[in-house]
């Protein structure tokens, strides 16, 4: 079991996974998870500035989860995004593309200088995530409620191949509205998919307003527990809590799928954006992108 030495300000330790045939992710770097999360936020803001729009509140909110995913939990080879031995990270929420591009840039899978092409003609970084466009993007996620079902199929496929890799599926509280999510949730436990880790971003906001008002999904943890999942609920902006939860998810001995419910703060890290209420498709004025970067940078230096 890995210690939490890769936390704030401390050096990443080479990860010794206890599974044969897997490679240590991001070994030997001296960048902390907090720095990774900060840089993911920064890449996302720079992309948002290119288009003057985007799902930036979600991106800022999920950056800590992505930092822990790509710099603590996942095994992969940046130079070979389709390496068979990798853990698969599925972005079910296609509109979070800006966030995952930021993480893929930070992970070295996408070159940083492509950031300025975000959302443009012929870009590999379209506004909605598509597997055919982007290295490291495992699935096409624009129609919500697809990811968890695809994850079930991939997890079954990995088991057929006797692979030790994990499937991570990041989905949103809004996707809890979709019946297909629950079809997949029921089957994941029926098939005993202990190689499937679900990550739900509960940021509390959907297109029409607060999620619980659109279609109340609470109490969420007992629902998934009743569906046969090993469930943890954490502050999705608390890196240490996330690391603990990811480790527990991977190492849980039960023959069942695992879920980490991540309660996140929309626009986390940029207080003047956090304060805005209508933030599903956050309006950011042209001058505010620079201001947001400045605030983010200042927050990092404190």
């Amino acid at each position: 079991m890995q210690s939490h030495q890769d936390m704030l300000g401390q050096q990443d330790m080479p990860v010794q996974k206890d599974m044969p045939g897997q490679q240590a992710p991001r070994a030997g770097t001296n960048v902390s998870l907090a720095d990774r999360a900060y840089r993911i936020r920064r890449h996302a803001l720079l992309m948002g500035e290119v288009q003057g729009q985007g799902y930036i509140a979600q991106a800022l909110g999920i950056s800590d989860v992505l930092a822990v995913s790509y710099f603590h939990a996942l095994t992969y080879r940046p130079e070979d995004p389709e390496w068979e031995g990798r853990d698969r990270f599925l972005l079910s929420i296609g509109h979070y593309a800006i966030a995952l591009y930021a993480a893929l840039i930070e992970a070295g899978i996408i070159p940083e200088d492509e950031l300025t092409s975000y959302g443009g003609d012929d870009s590999r970084l379209p506004m909605s995530a598509m597997a055919t466009y982007t290295p490291g993007m495992e699935i096409t996620g624009g129609s919500l409620g697809h990811g968890l079902g695809i994850a079930v199929g991939m997890a079954l496929g990995l088991k057929r191949k006797s692979s030790k890799s994990f499937i991570y599926n990041l989905f949103s509280d809004g996707e809890l509205d979709e019946g297909s999510t629950w079809e997949a949730a029921m089957s994941a436990s029926a098939f005993g998919l202990d190689n499937l880790i679900g990550l739900v971003d509960v940021n509390g906001m959907q297109a029409d307003g607060p999620s619980r008002g659109v279609l109340n999904f609470e109490p969420l943890a007992p629902k998934f527990e009743a569906f046969g999942w090993f469930v943890q609920r954490v502050d999705g902006n608390d890196l240490e809590a996330l690391v603990t939860a990811f480790d527990a998810a991977r190492n849980h001995p039960g023959r069942c799928p695992r879920l980490v419910i991540c309660d996140t703060q929309m626009a986390k890290g940029v207080p003047f954006l956090e304060a805005r209420e209508r933030n599903h498709f956050l309006r950011v004025e042209p001058a505010e992108w620079r201001e947001a970067l400045k605030v983010l940078d200042e927050g990092r230096m404190q």
Partner: protein, 341 residues
Amino acid sequence: MRRSKYERPVRPEGAGAGLKTSAMIASLAAPGQRTRSAPFGHALAELARTRPDIVGLSADLSKYTDLHIFAQAHPDRFYQMGMAEQLLMSAAAGLAREGFVPFATTYAVFAARRAYDFICLAIAEENLNVKIACALPGLTTGYGPSHQATEDVAIFRGMPNLTIIDACDAHEIEQVVPAMVAHQGPVYLRLLRGNVPLVLDEYGYTFEMGKAKTIRDGRDVLIVSSGLMTMRALEVAQALEGDRVDVAVLHVPTLKPLDEATILREAGRGGRLVVVAENHSVIGGLGEAVAGLLLRSGTVPPAFRQIGLPDAFLDAGALPTLHDRYGISTEAMVRRIREWL
């Protein structure tokens, strides 16, 4: 229009109920017709012996799609997904992503109406290698609109990357299965199951993906048909021999991509009445596909007619009654073609 449900049907005294409503899966075979049992299931089970990458998925209908034959032969490669068609298709996509060749099976209505978005975006958009085999295409059950996929081709023809096959008989299905696997990309098969008629072997026919083939030639009428309607067209041709009407039958099992060259060549040859016959709504199927093709290319036969199901939710009842009512029985086709000549 159907009569009001508050109006009691009037029957002659002493009359029985007429033909009984078909079971969910009515056999299409005429009495005494040669058949083969579960050709899809047997062909897939056989092919899977040498193809360990083939897996089969069912949404609680394996017995009714003949996938149970595969499941019995390869139990470790059969996935029961439950009555969850969205999951069926997205999990098939996931298995294809991991290098397997999944056969996702259900009824045509459920694939087309219920799981469309998942087939479209999780499978077809990435050209994933998922094979979708669906029983009860068109009017092959008397169970009513809930199970009659009268518009599945119209729904699926608009989906890029998807190959669509409408198989005629057991002989063809046996050849379609390996061809589906040999094809790289998603395929939708309109599947006949159970005791499936055996017809095309007598014509020396072989299935080729994307190819329309002349099953018999004739000077007066060209019937362009797919699926079970090719079987009917051959019966029509025999029946019209007595009228000295010479009928050609062009079988078009691959509805998409359409074999445009062969259809244009045949429709443009010899000044024949062209009749497109399909077990599908007249909207959005083979008939309109051929009509559009002829118009675009400036190929004008002396007359062009469609035989297909009406743009309506069809009645429940016995299948032979319904086929006659909606004009796709051999007798109904003969009557109409005589009128058109």
